[in-house]
């Protein structure tokens, strides 16, 4: 099932995410004070290369990380056939990657007119 390669990938992406998640959580705790507002979020993020890199790397890492994780759970809990597993993993990866990058694009680049 899990070989060293997948295991390492999952661990490395987890390590990449850890500071990002912490940062994200800190921002969230700060941001939700007094309610959420789209304009407020966008004013912070849009046009910022920093946030682009921040959320971009999160999306990349989480797509890999979750794809591997879901693959394991699908195998161990749902007992999915080993031939279907790579398909499941790739689907999760691509879905997260596409949706994620689109979101990052939306909140960081789209309004900046780039």
């Amino acid at each position: 099932m899990l070989t060293t390669r997948l295991y390492m990938l999952q661990r490395i992406t987890a390590l990449v995410m850890a500071p990002l998640v912490l940062g994200h959580l800190a921002v969230m705790i700060y941001a939700v004070q007094g309610g959420l507002d789209a304009a407020e979020i966008l004013s912070r993020t849009q046009g910022s290369i920093l946030w682009l890199v921040f959320y971009g790397s999160f999306v990349a890492a989480v797509s890999i990380h979750a794809a591997i994780g879901v693959r394991v759970v699908a195998f161990e809990v749902l007992g999915l056939n080993k031939r279907i597993l790579p398909i499941v993993a790739w689907c999760v990866f691509l879905a997260l990657m596409i949706l994620g990058l689109r979101a990052v694009y939306a909140v960081t680049l789209s309004g900046a007119g780039l």
Binding site: M1, T3, R5, R11, E76, V77
Partner: protein
């Protein structure tokens, strides 16, 4: 003594638990309860034991849903409002009633390269080994395993993943990784990195919680994960 114990025992013929009343005794183990039933109540009941003192590891069963060596589990310790439920060990095929087929467990032991590869012969001197050298202590910590498969039954990674080598086999492999006399370091790491290898352990800790010999297979597997990770980066032996 006072009240009879009410004991439900798994029967493979009916695929169900069967009730027995067993006289309670002062010094009584779960194995004694099972033996009493076979000797006095139902001569067709099948189970397995050999040493009766916790050395051979052939008597393990599920007792009230928990894996245990039965010859050294005192009834007092596990009795719940006078009830006992005794079934065959989890995660292994059942031969009959309470006896399981332990072959998959031992096949995996061999698959994990849980076997010493010699570098010397019977005609050579023995390797001088300082008893409190760190490698020796690490190898020693994992060695007193009686291959009872209690840990194997406690592990849900084993239940979910038929390939997974399981805690006991990996624990043995780890002991050998630390054994300075052994000559199969690379092969063993490879065996521990394969599709059923150490990375399939999710650190559930049941192995360590239930090992009747107080071994820590969970720590041994963590050791293998670390060693294989180092190896993956090409950092060499720790």
């Amino acid at each position: 003594m006072s009240q009879d114990l009410s004991v439900s025992v798994w029967r493979s013929e009916t695929n169900a638990f069967q009730e027995f009343a067993v006289p309670a005794q002062k010094n009584q183990t779960i194995l004694d309860v099972v033996s009493w039933i076979q000797a006095n109540s139902d001569p067709t009941l099948s189970y397995r034991f050999a040493c009766r003192v916790g050395m051979c590891g052939s008597c393990a069963m599920m007792v009230n849903g928990e894996p245990r060596w039965t010859c050294r589990t005192h009834v007092k310790k596990v009795l719940k409002s006078n009830n006992l439920e005794i079934g065959p060990l989890r995660n292994l095929p059942v031969v009959k009633d309470l006896a399981t087929d332990m072959d998959p467990f031992f096949d995996k032991w061999v698959e994990a390269k849980g076997v010493f590869e010699s570098t010397k012969t019977r005609h050579d001197d023995m390797e001088p080994i300082i008893p409190d050298a760190p490698e020796r202590m690490a190898a020693s910590a994992a060695i007193e395993c009686i291959n009872c498969a209690v840990c194997y039954a406690a592990c849900d990674s084993v239940s979910g993943n038929a390939e997974y080598l399981g805690p006991a086999a990996l624990n043995r492999a780890w002991s050998l990784v630390n054994d300075v006399r052994d000559g199969a370091y690379e092969e063993r790491l490879e065996a521990a990195s394969g599709a059923g290898g150490c990375h399939n352990c999710h650190s559930q800790g049941g192995c360590t919680a239930y090992c009747p010999n107080e071994l820590n297979p969970s720590a041994s597997i963590a050791g293998l994960k670390k060693e294989t990770s180092r190896n993956w980066f090409g950092w060499g032996r720790s």
